[in-house]
C-alpha cells in the first residue's frame, strides 16, 4: 500500500478561472461583489434600489443567477444598466465558468461595478469563488436571527451583511441585535448594514460603503481576495 500526497484544492479548476476573472477585473479597477442569500431574502429588490440610486456616472452591470426564468433580469433591466441572466438549469450555485462565459463578448467599456446575484441559497454558493472582491450576505428580518449560526460558512466568508426588510421589524418577531451578535460570533470583522427597499432606510450607508470599497480597491491596486480570516 502506497500513500501519495495530492495537496491541492478540490475546486482548483473553478479557482483557476476565478483568479483569471479577478485579474481581469483588477486590471480595469472594477469592483465586483457576489450577493448570497436565501430565496426571498430580498437580493433582487436590493439590487433594484441600488441601481436606481447609483450616481449617474457609474458604469455598472449585473449578472443575476437563477435555476430557471429571466424574471430577475427583466426586473433589473428597467434601471438602464446592462443585465444578463445566468440560468443554471438546476445547479444550486453560480461557478466561475458561468460568470466567465456570461461576461465574454458582452460589455466593451470598462466597468466601475459588477454586481453578481447568486442563486438563492446560503450553502452551496459559499464554496465557489467567482473572482469577486467580496461576498455580501443578504439576510432578511423575515428569517431567523440564528441563520449565521446555522449557516456559518457564508457569514464567515462575507465582508458585509445586509440586513434587509427592516421596515417589517414592527410586525415580525426578529431581534436585530441578536442577529448582529450571532453574525459577529461567526465573523467578528463582518460589517453590517440595515436596509429597507420599501422605505430606502440604510441605502445612504450602503451606497457609501460601495463607494468607499471601490476607492479602497483603486488605492490598493491589487487583488483584495476573500474575506476569510485566518484564526
Amino acid at each position: 500500500m502506497n500513500r501519495v500526497a495530492i495537496e491541492r484544492k478540490v475546486l482548483s479548476e473553478n479557482d483557476r478561472i476565478a483568479e483569471e476573472l479577478r485579474t481581469a477585473l483588477n486590471g480595469t479597477d472594477t469592483l465586483s461583489l457576489n450577493f448570497i442569500g436565501s430565496p426571498g431574502a430580498g437580493k433582487t429588490a436590493l439590487l433594484e434600489r441600488t441601481l436606481e440610486s447609483l450616481p449617474r456616472h457609474t458604469r455598472a452591470a449585473v449578472l443575476t443567477g437563477d435555476i430557471q426564468t429571466e424574471n430577475d433580469a427583466n426586473r433589473l433591466r428597467r434601471y438602464g444598466y446592462p443585465v444578463r441572466q445566468i440560468t443554471t438549469g438546476g445547479a444550486c450555485h453560480l461557478d466561475a465558468r458561468m460568470v466567465e462565459t456570461h461576461l465574454r463578448n458582452w460589455i466593451e467599456t470598462d466597468l466601475d461595478l459588477l454586481l453578481i446575484e447568486n442563486v438563492g441559497n446560503l450553502v452551496c454558493p459559499t464554496s465557489y469563488d467567482l473572482g469577486e472582491d467580496a461576498k455580501v450576505v443578504v439576510l432578511s428580518v423575515a428569517e431567523g436571527e440564528d441563520k449565521p449560526l446555522k449557516y456559518p460558512g457564508i457569514f464567515r466568508k462575507a465582508e458585509l451583511m445586509l440586513l434587509t426588510k427592516v421596515d417589517l421589524l414592527p410586525h415580525v418577531p426578529f431581534n436585530p441585535e441578536l442577529a448582529r451578535e450571532n453574525a459577529s460570533r461567526i465573523h467578528p470583522e463582518i460589517e453590517i448594514i440595515e436596509t429597507s427597499y420599501t422605505t430606502g432606510a440604510g441605502f445612504d450607508r450602503w451606497l457609501n460603503w460601495l463607494a468607499s470599497r471601490a476607492e479602497r480597491k483603486k488605492a490598493a491596486g491589487k487583488p483584495s481576495g476573500e474575506a476569510v480570516t485566518t484564526a
Binding site: M1, N2, E7, R8, S127
Partner: protein
C-alpha cells in the same frame, strides 16, 4: 446539492493522479473539509459512493478530515490531501 459536483471534481483529480501511477489502483482518497466550507460531509459521502458505483474505481473509499479553525487550520478547507494506492497486479492476485 453541490456535493455531487464536488464529488465529481474529486474523482477527476483521482483519475488525473492515477495517470502518474499506471501500475496501481486507488483504494482511498482523503479530503480535508473545513466546517465553514459549506459542504455537508454525509451528503458528499453519499454522492461520492453513487458516482463510484459500477465504475472501474469501485470500491474506492472517501476519507474526510473535518477541520475546525484552530491548530493552523482556517476552517474553510476543501482540499485533497492524499491518495492510497495498491499494486494493480497484487490486487488481482
Amino acid at each position: 446539492m453541490h456535493e455531487m459536483g464536488i464529488a465529481g471534481s474529486v474523482l477527476d483529480a483521482v483519475h488525473q493522479e492515477l495517470q502518474k501511477y499506471p501500475q496501481h489502483r486507488a483504494t482511498k482518497v482523503a479530503l480535508r473539509i473545513g466546517e465553514f466550507a459549506g459542504v455537508d460531509p454525509d451528503s458528499l459521502q453519499f454522492c461520492f459512493e453513487a458516482l463510484v458505483k459500477g465504475t472501474p474505481l469501485e470500491p474506492l473509499e472517501l476519507e474526510i478530515e473535518w477541520c475546525r479553525p484552530k491548530d493552523g487550520r482556517r476552517g474553510d478547507e476543501l482540499e485533497l490531501a492524499h491518495l492510497e494506492l495498491e499494486d494493480a497486479q497484487e490486487a488481482v492476485a
